[in-house]
């Protein structure tokens, strides 16, 4: 295995590389092809691993982005400077002028499209399921939802949110007349449709059986029941096609206070200016009043009660238009005096007056030109700016919303097309830190190291003794034993799985690393390899040792073993490779995670975190790290050692 480097003593290796000759003038075609092959080979062999490592440093959203980018980019993040949960208010200060205040509690999820506020139906579609959306006979969409969400926004608008790529969400406008049905078909039983009749609180959760169809008929109202977000579920930000980012406040259990991990409230920065024609929507606690600041350059206040609407323009009139047949559940006060309004009546706004709108729970006070004050017994009181130049540097959160319990939310509808993400190439270790919370790397690693070293040492010891006996002694049955061992060379452990499992179970070695180690140590390959090598050791050495009075044991330990060094090294390399990478047998023996080896642990992890590639990638990198390091330091010994085995 000599590295034949020719006559290049003092030259620059690169120069000599390109100018080296093959006995003729210069690099000939064959040389070129050779290096082309080697170059391509390097890409094919190393590229995937490099890609894995690069990808493992990407953020969760970037991992699922398509098309993928080569380097990991992270949005620039800012820490939230203050986090004050006192008084039930969330006070989130950003590094610039903005203060996010006063977020609404108990509202339902709202999806806002172009300023239309509507209640929505949310159908969670698991990844890799086909979704068919039909309106009457016409098929509007058929394809993958990739773990997306189907939202019914208004009576005639549906939106398919692609979880992997929110930007590519599709908005369907259905001719949704009374005669039409909307059919949502998925091929799974995990689809959940949350159906709620709007005017009550009654909820129906429909679990669709496999291949069943959900038929939505016009007139039914759908609401999500994600008002209570189950523990462990991360609410998502949805970005719809109509260029709006909606920040949705979610409540995790109205009674319990969810402790927010401040560290997780890191947000990426977007430069957004809320300028003209922007809506700022505030909803109060029981969702009976919604305040909408239309077009902030003109101070227009729109109050939307559960059943009625006010439109107030500074210096203009109040127009009061309740829906038919509704019971009025609010009160309007001017300077503290109750005012009764007739439907379709109007009222002139005087900037000197203070207007108070009293809803079921909240009270909104507004003096034209001033800030808006919203009071709520649960939440406390808070104000929001009513400022034409109100501009905000909005941080888009990456995975977690503004969440608080018993705390209010503000939703900002932000035009997406004014948004530029501030990104930089940055390697994020979040995937690693988050991954090891459920992937006990050190334990798995420890188990693997223990299994590998113990099994290898035992293999070397047991096999070398057997090889010594088979190569240096003549005894009855020797050939028979050798033939039996050799013939099992071609019978792999996988064909005796069941009986071997019976043995392990009978011995009580289930979930015991011993059960992984012991059955593997009597390898026929090792015996064969070592025997062939020991045959080359001259018998005279043994004879003279015997004459000197050495016992057989001493001969084995002090003569045979040292002389078999190279063969033992090769077997050790093999054994480490086998045992480290073993999967099927450990998987059968080990079913509890505390005894998992790295391979079993990784496989189980990727099964558990099925689509969370960002975590899987990071843990895969961790798993390949140890063997890669070993290889980096010992590659010459390993490759030459293995190469010699083919030569006997």
């Amino acid at each position: 295995m000599s590295e034949t480097v020719q006559n290049t003593t003092a030259e620059n290796p690169l120069v000599s590389f390109f100018t080296r000759t093959n006995g003729r003038g210069s690099l000939d075609l064959t040389d070129m092809l050779t290096y082309l092959y080697l170059g391509l080979g390097t890409i094919v062999m190393f590229g995937p691993v490099a890609w894995l490592i690069l990808s493992s440093f990407k953020s969760e959203s970037e991992v699922s982005a398509f098309p993928p980018r080569m380097l990991p980019y992270q949005p620039e993040t800012i820490e939230i400077e203050s986090f004050n949960r006192e008084g039930g208010l969330v006070d989130l200060s950003f590094d610039d002028l903005t203060t996010l205040t006063a977020l609404d509690a108990a509202t339902d999820i709202e999806i806002r499209v172009d300023g239309i506020t509507s209640r929505v139906a949310v159908v969670e579609i698991p990844a890799d399921e086909t979704v068919i959306i039909r309106a009457g006979e016409e098929t509007l969409y058929e394809g993958s939802a990739a773990g997306g969400t189907l939202l019914r926004i208004t009576d005639d608008e549906f939106m398919l949110l692609d979880a992997a790529d929110p930007d590519s969400s599709m908005l369907f406008t259905l001719p949704f007349t009374e005669a039409d049905n909307v059919t949502i078909t998925t091929a799974t039983d995990t689809v959940r449709v949350f159906n709620r009749v709007d005017d009550g609180d009654q909820q129906t959760v429909v679990h669709l059986p496999q291949s069943d169809e959900l038929t939505v008929t016009n007139g039914e109202e759908f609401l999500t029941n994600q008002r209570r977000v189950p523990e462990g579920v991360t609410p998502t930000v949805t970005i719809d096609e109509s260029d709006n980012v909606t920040y949705i406040g979610m409540v995790i259990g109205a009674e319990q206070v969810e402790v927010i991990d401040v560290q997780r409230i890191q947000r990426s920065l977007f430069d957004i200016t809320l300028a003209v024609a922007t809506n700022l929507v505030v909803a109060d606690v029981d969702d009976d009043i919604r305040v909408r600041l239309n077009d902030l350059s003109l101070p227009t206040l729109e109050l939307e009660f559960a059943e009625a609407e006010f439109l107030i323009n500074e210096g203009e009139t109040i127009v009061y238009e309740p829906d038919d047949d509704t019971e009025i559940a609010y009160q309007l006060q001017i300077n503290g005096e109750a005012v009764e309004l007739e439907p379709s009546s109007s009222l002139e706004i005087d900037t000197a007056n203070t207007y108070t709108f009293i809803g079921r729970t909240s009270t909104i006070t507004w003096q034209p030109g001033n800030d808006l004050t919203i009071e709520n017994p649960v939440v406390g009181s808070y104000t929001m700016p009513f400022d034409p130049d109100f501009s905000v540097r909005v941080a888009q959160n990456t995975g977690l919303n503004l969440i608080s319990t018993e705390q209010p939310t503000i939703s900002y509808d932000v035009p997406l097309n004014q948004r530029t993400a501030i990104e930089q190439v940055e390697f994020s270790f979040d995937n690693y830190t988050e991954g090891v919370e459920s992937f006990n790397f050190l334990r798995y690693f420890g188990n693997s190291v223990f299994v590998t070293t113990t099994a290898t040492l035992l293999t070397l010891f047991v096999n070398s003794m057997a090889a010594f006996a088979l190569s240096k002694y003549r005894f009855p049955g020797r050939n028979a034993i050798f033939v039996v061992i050799i013939s099992t060379l071609m019978v792999p452990l996988s064909v005796i799985l069941v009986p071997a499992f019976l043995l392990i179970t009978s011995l009580g070695w289930n979930n015991n690393l011993i059960g992984v180690i012991i059955p593997t140590i009597g390898t026929p390959t090792g015996v064969f390899l070592l025997r062939q090598y020991m045959l080359t050791i001259p018998d005279e050495l043994i004879e003279s040792a015997r004459i000197d009075g050495a016992t057989e044991w001493r001969i084995y330990l002090q003569i045979i073993l040292p002389l078999s060094g190279p063969a033992l090294a090769v077997l050790a390399i093999f054994s480490v490779m086998w045992r480290w990478n073993d999967f099927l047998w450990p998987k059968i023996v080990l079913t509890q995670s505390h005894v998992f080896t790295l391979q079993v642990g990784l496989e189980s992890f990727q099964g558990e975190f099925n689509n969370q590639w960002h975590l899987i990638l990071a843990m895969t990198v961790l798993s390949l790290l140890p063997i890669t390091l070993v290889f980096a330091f010992l590659q010459r010994y390993i490759t030459t050692g293995i190469a010699t085995t083919g030569m006997k």
């Binding site: 099992t488 799985l497 015996v527 016992t551 099927l584 990727q606 895969t620 390949l624």
Partner: protein
């Protein structure tokens, strides 16, 4: 050329003896080692007196044979018992005798899958209704057979090509050898995850396809693509090993043969056909046998890569055993053992066939 000053040869460097900690440790190890050996000898000496020098051979071989008999030979025998008994009980005393029922179950297929085009246009889920278990078995057998033939074929071809190229006078040979060998060290699970990540719907390859304006491809959801990639990644992950062995075989060929051929004016191709291939044949045979045995046993990489999907397009025989014996709700050990038996039989027949072919080749070339 300018006159060089006379070169003074430096005195030979002695290993520094003043490093006392290292020295102490060294002697300490020797003393302790000696002590342990002597201690063992205290036991071994009377033992040797008891059994004699020849008897010691049995002592030496005992541990290996103990493990070997318990965990290899005994299970091989018990496998027969499992094959001919039924029920989902693990312990032998609870298993009723059913004769050849398990084996018959495997081969009794009315809707023979062999009649259905195995490559199926799409092979998606649903095309493989669980009408009869035999369907899956037959599918697994056919899949495995196709896999073994193609995988071993590609493996040999690519390994040989790589070995020949690495055997040329190239720079950085050690580096390139390591590059091709590196994936061998990766565990099958890691290999599967790496490639699943690349081939998934939003993966790198589809990104590249998208980038050049082509439609994305469901690499893991279309049956034939899935089969192709299973072969590809198994070749990718193992070829380095066989390349190394073939490379060693190549380097053992005496250079004089090539020089003689060159004098005779032989072309490169003729040298390859006339010298390299015949002299490499013994190594090739080892590689083919090793690769075939490994290919028949393919499991873990596929298990983590496709899990047999789509449908049963990449279901191979060991996975079939694993599913029946260890992953199904009612453990069907009998069926698993019967499958193992069939597989072992095939393996042995295959190896014997290989040896036979080789012997005939050897005879022919000798003649």
């Amino acid at each position: 050329m300018t006159t060089q000053p006379t070169v003074s040869i430096p005195p030979p460097q002695r290993t520094p003896i003043h490093k006392w900690p290292g020295k102490i440790l060294y002697w300490f190890a020797i003393v302790v080692g000696e002590f342990i050996i002597n201690l063992m000898d205290l036991v071994m000496q009377p033992l040797q007196r008891l059994v004699g020098v020849r008897g010691m051979a049995y002592v030496f071989i005992l541990p290996n044979m103990l493990v070997f008999s318990i965990f290899v030979l005994f299970p091989m025998m018990t496998n027969f018992v499992y094959t001919f008994t039924g029920s989902s009980a693990l312990f032998l005393e609870d298993r009723p005798w059913v004769g050849t029922e398990n084996i018959e179950t495997l081969f009794n297929c009315d809707g023979s899958v062999l009649g259905i085009e195995v490559g199926g246009e799409d092979g998606v889920i649903g095309q493989d209704p669980l009408r009869c278990e035999e369907d899956r078995f037959a599918r697994a057998v056919v899949n495995t057979a196709v896999f073994v033939v193609l995988q071993v074929g590609f493996m040999i071809g690519i390994s040989l090509l790589t070995a020949v190229i690495l055997n040329r006078k190239i720079r950085f040979r050690g580096f390139f050898r390591s590059v091709f060998f590196y994936p061998v060290l990766l565990s099958p699970i890691v290999v599967a995850l790496i490639w699943r990540w690349i081939l998934q719907e939003n993966g790198l390859f589809n990104g590249i396809l998208d980038g050049v304006g082509l439609d994305t491809v469901g690499f893991l959801t279309q049956a034939n693509w899935a089969r192709f990639w299973v072969i590809f990644i198994s070749v990718w992950s193992l070829m380095g090993f066989y390349t190394l062995i073939l490379l060693a075989g190549l380097q053992a060929i005496p250079l004089e043969l090539y020089e003689a051929a060159e004098i005779d004016g032989a072309s490169n191709w003729r040298k390859f056909r006339g010298i390299t291939l015949p002299l490499l044949m013994p190594t090739m045979l080892v590689v083919i046998i090793l690769a075939s045995i490994r290919a028949v046993q393919v499991f873990d990489v596929v298990w983590a890569f496709t899990g047999g999907a789509p449908g049963s397009a990449t279901l191979y025989i060991v996975q079939y055993i694993y599913e029946n014996g260890f992953a199904s709700a009612t453990r069907r050990y009998g069926l698993a053992a019967a499958t193992s038996l069939v597989m072992a039989t095939a393996l042995i027949a295959f190896t014997l066939f290989q040896l036979y072919i080789n012997r005939r080749n050897a005879l022919e070339s000798a003649a």
